[in-house]
């Protein structure tokens, strides 16, 4: 049985085609990265998987069931999201932020069990010192880390990350990557977007090369990340970067 299948996705916006003929099959526990130039449709694809956007054509199947036919709570128990930029419009404690990860499980009012789950995870990740601080004033790195922790609280099967390392310093990059490695080892499925090849090497099993909304190539890293493919992808000579990577 297919675990996660993205089938024939087509998406356009204001007469501009953004995604075309997207077909991907993902196994349970796999970590797959979408890689491509800016504007190639990566974020859009993620949002379609999360049902934030609806494709004009095509479906997404989870365990061979069409996810668009699920209600939103069920979907939230399957997919969790770490966006590129974390919004903080209002003041709130880190604890309050984390407990919102329980939203798909809460009927009306937060229960004691939900609080306990959050406390446990806070202890496990040793972020007790952040618990009562205003989430708005944490650093970008802390925010990303905590949002990632929230996916544990959300108990989702698939974790979707959109460029999680972009605004972070070295210390937090390492932390996040370490955590992602642990998540992968625990059997969760990860779909991510990264811009740097090092991260991809560290945690991804497969890579999807996305160019202008279409899949150029899919495959294991060492097969896919070649000078030829990258040059094709970016339409620029990437030889120099490849050298740096070594």
């Amino acid at each position: 049985m297919n675990y996660l299948e993205i089938k024939d996705i087509y998406f356009s916006y204001k007469d501009k085609e953004i995604l075309k003929d997207i077909n991907i099959k993902i196994d349970k526990g796999e970590s797959i990265t979408i890689f491509g130039p800016n504007g190639s449709g990566k974020t859009t694809l993620l949002k379609i998987i999360l049902s934030i956007l609806k494709p004009l054509k095509g479906e997404v199947f989870f365990k061979e069931k069409n996810i668009f036919e699920f209600d939103e709570r069920r979907r939230a128990k399957i997919f969790s999201y770490v966006p590129q930029k974390i919004n903080t419009f209002f003041p709130m404690s880190t604890f309050d932020y984390l407990i919102l990860g329980r939203t798909p499980y809460i009927n009306g009012f937060i229960k004691k069990e939900d609080r306990e789950i959050v406390s446990n995870w806070i202890e496990k990740f040793k972020i007790g010192h952040l618990k009562d601080l205003n989430f708005q004033f944490l650093s970008e790195g802390e925010k990303q880390l905590i949002t990632l922790i929230r996916t544990f609280i959300q108990e989702s099967d698939v974790i979707i990350l959109d460029e999680p390392l972009t605004h972070l310093d070295l210390k937090y990059r390492m932390k996040i990557l370490e955590l992602l490695k642990k998540i992968k080892l625990s059997g969760k499925t990860i779909i991510s977007v990264f811009h740097d090849l090092e991260s991809i090497r560290y945690i991804s099993d497969r890579v999807i090369l996305l160019k202008n909304g279409e899949i150029l190539k899919v495959g294991k890293i060492y097969d896919i990340i070649t000078e030829e493919n990258l040059t094709n992808l970016f339409e620029e000579n990437i030889k120099q970067i490849l050298t740096l990577q070594k």
Partner: protein, 325 residues
């Protein structure tokens, strides 16, 4: 400021202001008389029962109503500076009032103007929803733009009718001066009929509102039906502010000040914020009404003027406050 201390202080102040409001007026009552009245209302003074008590209670209820409407407006717009009259509700209410003055419908029955203002608030909300839907997604920006566009449209038509119509300008001035001086139990029962279910409803959705406050995409990923929730928010805001306008006209600043103050102390937990808004908002408006009754006694100053006076220092406070939690 310790949160528990804060709650304690506002509760104590509430009781204090309540008793003060009950005792002050054209006829003064002693503490003893008031407590006796509260225990067995029927045996109390007629004036207390039919006029004083309804007035004090209604100022509290409208304050609560406006605060919750303000809270939900900020949630909906993902903006702490939103208030329930931001997106055209007040201009919608005013618009319907002007139309009814123009056609002379204000003379149909006594509170017909208030009723039309309520209809106007709902009508404006409906139109805005419609406009935003046509655009596609209902985003805070769309709502805001639609609201502003509608505001301009409504106010220009209103101005036109004011000039063209017979005596509309004079009669519309009276409308802006309304407050709690004509309150009676009838108005209160209508207020309660709308307020209580709205509060219960809001409380049931509290976690959804919390999640919505993180932003639309994140809320969707957390399992919130964002489309439905926006509609629920709009509807609740329209109802709560509409009914407040019906009871006592347009009163500004309460919906803006109270949730802001509370958020900085209590975070975004709607389960806490809603009851606290009720208490603080009710307290603030009850106090404002007391001040309005007291300063130029026996002349009444409309309560909306008092709340505007409070609004100015509040904005200064926003400017200068340290952003801490």
């Amino acid at each position: 400021m310790n949160r528990k201390v804060f709650v304690f202080i506002i509760l104590v102040t509430l009781i204090f202001v309540f008793l003060l409001s009950m005792s002050f007026g054209s006829k003064k009552y002693s503490l003893y008389e008031i407590i006796k009245f509260l225990i067995s209302p029927k045996e109390g003074d007629e004036l207390l029962l039919k006029i004083r008590f309804p007035r004090v209670i209604s100022s509290f209820l409208v304050g609560a109503s406006l605060s919750i409407a303000g809270l939900l407006s900020q949630t909906l717009f993902l903006n702490p500076l939103a208030d329930p009259f931001l997106f055209g509700i007040s201009s919608g209410a005013n618009f319907f009032v002007t139309i009814s003055l123009f056609f002379g419908w204000d003379l149909i029955f006594k509170f017909s103007l208030s009723f039309f203002s309520f209809l106007g608030a709902l009508f404006a909300t409906f139109i805005i929803l419609l406009i935003s839907r046509i655009k596609g997604k209902i985003t805070p920006l769309n709502l805001l733009l639609a609201g502003i566009a509608l505001s301009y449209l409504f106010s220009s038509i209103s101005s036109f009718l004011t000039i063209w119509g017979r005596d509309v300008l004079n009669r519309s001035v009276f409308w802006t001066l309304s407050g709690f001086s004509t309150i009676n139990m009838e108005k209160i029962s209508i207020l309660l009929i709308i307020l209580i279910p709205s509060i219960i409803f809001s409380l049931l959705f509290n976690v959804q509102f919390d999640a919505f406050s993180l932003g639309e995409d994140e809320a969707i990923s957390l399992g919130v039906n964002v489309k439905l929730l926006k509609f629920v928010l709009l509807f609740l805001i329209a109802l709560l502010s509409g009914i407040s306008v019906y009871v006592s006209g347009i009163i500004g600043f309460i919906g803006l000040m109270v949730p802001n103050l509370l958020r900085s102390l209590f975070g975004l937990n709607h389960l806490k914020l809603i009851p606290l808004s009720i208490i603080l908002g009710g307290l603030l408006l009850m106090t404002s009404d007391l001040i309005g009754r007291f300063i130029l006694f026996p002349t009444e100053i409309p309560v909306s003027i008092i709340t505007s006076f409070l609004g100015a220092p509040f904005f200064l406070y926003l400017l200068f406050k340290k952003r801490s939690f």
